[in-house]
Symmetry: C2
Subunit: 326 residues, 2 copies
């Protein structure tokens, strides 16, 4: 009888705007080897998939061989976990619906799971990070947009169509600021990077308070946080208002799903206490009393270049092993 | 070897303000026999549990005997699924924390699961009702309060502490109407029965429009719905404003959890289209576009006296069989 080989490694792939990274990761979450290339070098999806598959399989050959890998997990913008496809990404170079899971499976012979960055970060935090041991929690992605992934009973809650978690498009100000999605008053219109800059511009127009923000062309959200560190009062007020909106959105989220923690990931987490302290204050005022004082606010420690590759490797363990070549 | 008996019946118990009902239910959800008594007759919890257990065991003896019953499910106000206790109910006659599951188990020898009415209705709808086959959906309880239960991946989402689903205490109007929970602008302050009457009083004060509502002492929410049926414009406007608030709360809920359906249960569902048509209209305007047009609004067909007993029987199947007397 042929003994079944226990495969102790997986591949994690992160496809982001800037770079596509791929790594071999072991059961403990150690990244054994990682390589990457510029995503924008391959505007044709078929060429992209060919190049990625070739480079990946070459890396695998040099590091343990085909049989050492169990499966592949992919983090990609606009990915739908349920279909394994990238769907109508407004940012990636490929248009329409890209059946990425099938394309990569056919070229590599491995089972491939695909999910968006919020899902993958939640899986990463659950497998290797701050959410280890938690069953019900929320991971937020904070940057150009605001997204989230809810874990329920130890599993990703995808909802009926794979679109759960759109906290960025919950309304925090009825009839408020115009959002890119078409609605008004969405959380994202206030708390994502552009929204923070819009609040700064509003505040500068409202007052004559001197500020380091004044006169700066192309002001950035993290630059404003830097001014907070320098004691700039108006900059601190920008983040106070932003945090208040975030706290409002999170209070409604917590009253609905009672999470053990909100785990914050993404570029905006660099604003740290300037954003989260006022958010926590507003949250504590608004959340339903049974949940008051229980929900932790945590900034991901893992947020660095390899994070989404790690999360993607956690996703890889979730799929059943498969091979075209068996 | 002793053959294990397959037990094809469970007991469902519903403890509400008015009555405590208990029934034997088969695998298909047929109520074989049901009895009840006035909950308020037993303000002492130990006496209540003794009387309930004795009457129940007597009913069981007369209908198939001890061994025919697998387990017991209980629907109770303010019940915590995770602890099996009734916790600090503001309405039931017993104060503090009542370990109902343990009390009933010790007296009957059956495994006993306890949950609140939103959870039990969701289980009932999933097992025997409109949510049959659904994995991700929300059941709402609409009456003196507004509650909900989310199903995620085919299971109840309880959250970290068992307090998920508090849609009644999500904020729909920042700084708005005072809610009994201490916060302002909660959905419940507008959409529960008292809130609807408050809106009616506001509207009557705002305008001089003639209305059947005027001059009625102790106006009731369902009475206002009756006036809608008679074409009363101001009454229709009361429900239009109420529905708008409900639609707002549901849109945020759906953007977060992407449910296949909202299933409405409870006394207020008798207001029917007067409440749900404007709710759906507001919902469609606000929900995130990926979820637009997908979420069904359904009124439970099962809402009748036996419903919570049926739901409680569905809960009974969820617990592992147990007996003190084996």
């Amino acid at each position: 009888m042929k003994q079944k080989i226990i495969k102790k490694r997986v591949v994690g792939i992160d496809i982001s705007l800037e770079a596509t990274s791929y790594a071999i990761v072991d059961v403990k979450g150690e990244v054994l080897v990682m390589e990457s290339f510029a995503t924008s070098d391959y505007p044709d999806i078929n060429l992209f998939v060919s190049v990625l598959s070739e480079r990946l399989m070459d890396m695998v050959e040099r590091n343990g061989g085909y049989e050492s890998i169990r499966s592949v997990g992919v983090s990609a913008l606009s990915a739908n976990f349920m279909t394994g496809s990238i769907e109508n990404s407004p940012n990636l170079p490929w248009k329409g619906v890209i059946p990425l899971s099938a394309l990569l499976r056919d070229r590599t012979g491995y089972a491939v799971a695909v999910a968006n960055n919020a899902d993958v970060r939640a899986l990463g935090e659950h497998t290797y990070g701050l959410a280890r041991g938690m069953r019900d929690f929320v991971v937020l992605t904070m940057g150009s947009g605001i997204g989230s992934c809810l874990f329920s009973n130890g599993m990703i809650h995808k909802g009926n169509d794979g679109f759960a978690g759109e906290i960025g498009h919950t309304c925090v100000e009825p009839g408020g600021r115009q959002c890119g999605c078409g609605n008004k008053g969405c959380l994202e219109a206030y708390v994502a990077k552009k929204g923070i800059v819009a609040t700064a511009n509003e505040l500068m127009a409202e007052t004559t308070t001197p500020s380091l923000m004044r006169g700066i062309e192309n002001l950035k959200a993290l630059q404003i946080a830097e001014f907070c560190n320098q004691g700039d009062e108006l900059a601190i007020e920008v983040y106070r208002r932003t945090g208040e909106m975030l706290g409002f959105g999170l209070a409604n989220y917590a009253s609905l799903v009672d999470p053990e923690a909100f785990i914050f990931t993404g570029g905006l987490t660099k604003a740290g206490k300037w954003l989260l302290d006022p958010a926590k204050e507003a949250f504590d005022k608004l959340v339903f009393h049974n949940t008051y004082g229980k929900t932790q606010f945590l900034i991901s420690e893992e947020y660095k270049v390899s994070n989404d590759v790690l999360g993607a490797s956690a996703l890889a363990w979730e799929v059943r092993e498969y091979s075209l070549f068996k």
